[in-house]
């Protein structure tokens, strides 16, 4: 009970408050930018030389404002927004009128979640594995070689790396497709062909993310393991003749894992923010481009929908870490 009161409750309150604050900020900030969604729609309709009779534009603006729910003061809109949100209704997208925001998110989410989930998990596992071993055998040649490689790969601007992968494996050596999430004309179904198709298209984007992810995780883990390795209790175990395998797994890695688990949880929480540059380079469907287009066209509802989910995911991840951490780290339990 004391635990709940001193540990859980404050964190829970903070959780709710942070979500509230975040969503409020994301509500108001787009409305202050110069991009007006109504004018944006009209501009899009007029672009490419298409003709909107100037005499009828006034009334069109009125109609659009009403359909978009942009009438009334900002506070009125704010109130109406909260009423809708509790039913899970984020309204309709302005630019993709009249598609509801949740529909748009539902279509793009599986792609983003699928790609990023696998990329994050794989790079975390592989990176930690390599990093752990490299940290333990820090003096060995291959460990230092890997470190140098990671050192050079890590600061590479992601865009260039991804574009180079695309050109290398889709043009120079034609192994993988250039764009899209699936083949053209492929209808979604749960059969083998579809799955292979999706994997084929996801390979290069995932590879680009995994390579950089592994490089980062590798270095972090190596550093941590090196520090843990230098700790007294590990030295003592070595001198005491404990089997190497046991030292590595139960003494070193278990202690090194704690901060890495925190990082994993945070990374997983970030999935819903999408991977914008990946989607741009590989023409991959996902939340990143959806969000970016929404920002640029001033599509308030869509911005709010995606961002709210993203905030929810990240705060939940942090809350989860806070709740679960005491289980892993006994030192926190004593606090």
């Amino acid at each position: 009970m004391r635990f709940v009161r001193r540990y859980l409750l404050p964190r829970f309150i903070q959780y709710v408050l942070v979500i509230f604050l975040g969503i409020t900020a994301v509500f108001f900030i787009p409305r202050f930018t110069p991009s007006d969604p109504v004018q944006r729609t009209i501009a899009e309709l007029q672009s490419h030389g298409s003709y909107l009779d100037p005499g009828s534009i006034d009334e069109m603006v009125e109609d659009l404002r009403e359909m978009y729910g942009l009438e009334g003061s900002m506070l009125e809109q704010y109130g109406a927004f909260w009423k809708r949100v509790f039913t899970g209704d984020f309204g309709v997208s302005f630019f993709q009128f009249p598609t509801p925001v949740m529909d748009l998110i539902r279509t793009s989410l599986p792609w983003t979640a699928g790609l990023l989930l696998w990329a994050t998990l794989l790079s975390w596992i592989v990176g930690n594995l390599l990093g752990g071993l490299a940290g333990y055998y820090a003096r060995s040649r291959w460990s230092r070689a890997l470190d140098t490689v990671a050192m050079v790969v890590r600061p590479m601007p992601y865009y260039i790396f991804a574009l180079s992968l695309l050109i290398l494996f889709a043009y120079v050596v034609r192994l993988f497709p250039i764009a899209g999430g699936t083949d053209i004309g492929r209808r979604a179904a749960f059969n083998w062909k579809f799955i292979v198709d999706v994997l084929r298209h996801a390979f290069l984007p995932a590879l680009s993310m995994i390579v950089l992810g592994v490089a980062t995780t590798f270095q972090t883990m190596k550093l941590i393991v090196q520090n843990v390795n230098a700790e007294d209790f590990v030295q003592y175990a070595k001198l005491g003749g404990v089997k190497e395998r046991r030292i590595v797994s139960r003494y070193v890695i278990r202690n090194a894992m704690l901060p890495q688990i925190t990082n994993l949880a945070l990374a997983l929480g970030q999935i819903l923010s999408g991977a914008l540059i990946t989607e741009i380079v590989f023409s991959y469907p996902g939340l990143g481009t959806l969000l970016f287009n929404a920002i640029v066209t001033g599509d308030y509802n869509l911005i709010m929908g995606i961002t709210a989910l993203s905030i929810l995911a990240i705060t939940s991840a942090i809350l989860l870490i806070d709740l679960v951490y005491p289980l892993f780290d006994p030192r926190v339990r004593l606090m």
Binding site: L45, P54, E59, F95, G180, T182, I184, I280
Partner: protein
């Protein structure tokens, strides 16, 4: 110990990846019968919603260019108006309050239902009665009554005399489409109705689409002979047509180089890259300047004539004269554009109908520089300068004067910084010790030129080239590319913008009403409000008079229409609310590996763009190569 594990891991990884290898992108569609083109407007945001009458639905994903047939279409390549669902020209009565439109017989919708005047009547009535449709306001304001005269004739009684009423059905990258009555009449809420699958009178019908919006596949109708395309031109050759979106230009180019994309719109640099690396890739023109230069739009920049000092025509002219057009064209588009001194592009029938007849007037046009000095700005040799520039870059340009005129225009303005300086000084501008220009109140003159942020867009190119020229002239000019450009210019929150200096003309026919009407004074709004006409917010009583005269002139009366058009152009030229530089150029490349007989400059049977409505008329002429 570890080594064995590594080898095993590697082997497993390779075994997992191997089945994934393979480049082909078409699932179950025969490549030799499929045409793949790129969508201009990018990824489709509403893939399952084909309701074109509300909002923006990415109509160039195959809707306007394959499956829908409008009443009439503009073809700017041949300068003709093609009859689609209409059987001929509209017939107005003498005071333009009533018009009759004849419709084509023998046309069926792609689900087999015959097309009749009932569809047209239904469409107009629905649009008139229901707020929320894009064209609701237009029809509600203009149409008193719409009715069928018989199965293939429809009549309109108008509320306002409007000799150009029918142009709302004239497709020039968008117009009012006809709804299939048999589908829409049973729909509860036509605003949110998704209209999936799209049913139209064009030769193609919907096959499938990507729920993520990256591709749409269209299939040739079995009864293609019942579509106007089939009736006019014969059987379309591709069985399937794919409209595909890519999120970045590099991917587009690579797709074309690997023969997975037959036609694509690129940027200037992308075009160079594609031509350099592809052996079966060709551009619209087979040699320099390669570009599609008959796109009916004139680019340049506009001044905010509601804001000082750009409300002064002398200042506007000075800024125009401070530009060295040869450098400008070289910087913006490597010399590939067709110059035009007036507010319409120099293409098709426009040079013959408008620019050449104006040449004497243009050469005689004089600016008053103050102190009794005058200056004649027109320079018929400007295009020759561009030719010299192109040759200095290593491009091959023909000596044929006609070819040069066609490619580079008839003339522009002289590069006259001294005359510009005098014009400015006449209006109490001055220069400081370092040559920087100061406003009449003594403060340094700073110009912010706004444009959209897409670096390949001609707005951007014009804006940055102009900024460079003015910097050299001594003005603190800065280019501000921003995604909010549309909003800023509509609200009047800018100095100079890279927008087109004039509304785009039809591209066919002698009528310039579309362009001139953008300067109608009734559309101008004060700064801070959304303005409806041209964003330069310029108007003049003389232009209003010309517009009134035009409205009372039958568009079929060619001589009168052209004369009024010339008058309008002269007024715009004198006032220079925006400076025209060169015509819009499109960078289109075609891959001839699977399909040939594209409508290039040497074989221009129809407009070259895949995103225009006229693309469906191209399909019967493309030839499969047999690969």
């Amino acid at each position: 110990m570890w080594r064995k594990h590594w080898c095993l891991a590697l082997a497993v990884a390779v075994a997992l990846v191997l089945p994934l290898v393979g480049v082909a992108q078409l699932a179950d569609l025969p490549r030799s019968e499929t045409l793949i083109m790129s969508i201009l407007t990018g990824r489709v945001g509403t893939p399952g919603n084909f309701n074109e009458w509300v909002g923006w639905k990415w109509r160039d994903r195959g809707m306007q260019n394959l499956a829908n047939e409008p009443l009439w279409s503009i073809d700017f390549a041949t300068g003709e108006i093609i009859n689609g669902l209409a059987a001929g020209d509209p017939v107005y009565d003498s005071n333009f309050f009533h018009v009759e439109i004849p419709l084509r017989e023998g046309v069926t919708w792609s689900d087999g239902t015959p097309f009749t005047a009932d569809d047209v009547v239904f469409t107009v009535e629905l649009l008139m009665d229901t707020p929320g449709f894009n064209n609701h306001a237009f029809f509600a304001e203009n149409v008193e009554l719409v009715y069928r005269i018989d199965d293939y004739r429809v009549g309109f009684d108008l509320k306002l005399a409007n000799s150009r009423f029918h142009t709302t059905f004239l497709d020039r990258w968008g117009c009012t489409w006809i709804m299939p009555k048999h589908i829409f009449e049973d729909v509860e809420d036509p605003i949110t109705f998704e209209f999936d699958p799209f049913i139209g009178c064009g030769p193609y019908k919907l096959h499938s689409y990507d729920p993520a919006g990256y591709w749409t596949v269209w299939e040739k109708r079995d009864d293609w002979a019942n579509s106007p395309t089939g009736i006019l031109y014969g059987e379309p050759k591709p069985t399937y047509i794919v409209l595909q979106a890519f999120a970045n230009e590099g991917a587009k180019i690579i797709a074309q180089l690997t023969h997975q994309l037959d036609g694509v719109d690129l940027s200037a640099e992308g075009l160079k890259a594609a031509l350099a690396q592809g052996d079966t890739v060709r551009a619209y023109q087979l040699s320099f300047p390669w570009v599609v230069n008959n796109d009916p739009a004139i680019t340049g920049f506009i001044f905010n004539t509601a804001k000082a000092p750009y409300d002064n025509p002398d200042v506007r002219w000075a800024l125009t004269l401070a530009i060295d057009i040869v450098e400008y064209a070289g910087q913006a588009v490597d010399g590939m554009g067709t110059l035009s001194p007036v507010h319409i592009p120099s293409l098709g029938s426009y040079p013959a109908n408008f620019i050449k007849p104006m040449e004497d007037w243009l050469e005689a046009f004089t600016l008053d520089l103050g102190n009794g000095e005058t200056f004649q700005p027109y320079d018929p040799d400007a295009p020759a300068g561009v030719v010299a520039y192109a040759r200095s870059r290593g491009y091959i340009v023909s000596d044929d004067p006609e070819a040069q005129e066609q490619a580079f225009g008839l003339g522009w303005f002289k590069y006259a910084p001294e005359a510009a300086a005098k014009l400015l000084e006449k209006n109490r501008f001055s220069q400081d010790a370092e040559g920087n220009w100061l406003l009449p109140d003594g403060t340094p003159w700073r110009i912010e030129v706004v444009s959209r942020s897409d670096t390949s867009h001609l707005e951007f190119k014009n804006a940055s080239a102009a900024v460079q020229q003015w910097k050299q002239f001594g003005i603190d000019a800065v280019h501000v590319p921003t995604d909010a450009a549309a909003t800023l210019t509509q609200n009047g929150d800018f100095d100079i913008a890279g927008n087109w200096p004039a509304q785009e003309p039809w591209g066919a026919g002698p009528d310039l009403y579309r362009t001139l009407n953008a300067w109608n004074s009734t559309y101008v709004r004060p700064i801070g409000e959304l303005t409806n006409g041209n964003h330069s917010r310029w108007s003049s009583p003389e232009m209003d008079e010309v517009l009134a005269d035009l409205r009372a002139t039958d568009p079929a009366d060619t001589a009168a229409t052209i004369a009024l058009g010339i008058e309008g152009l002269k007024i715009a030229f004198t006032e220079m609310p925006g400076t025209p530089t060169f015509g819009y150029i499109g960078f289109v490349t075609w891959d001839e590996y699977y399909w040939a007989n594209w409508p290039g400059a040497e074989n221009s049977y129809i407009g070259p763009y895949a995103h225009w409505g006229t693309f469906k008329y191209m399909t019967p002429f493309l030839e499969p190569t047999g690969n």
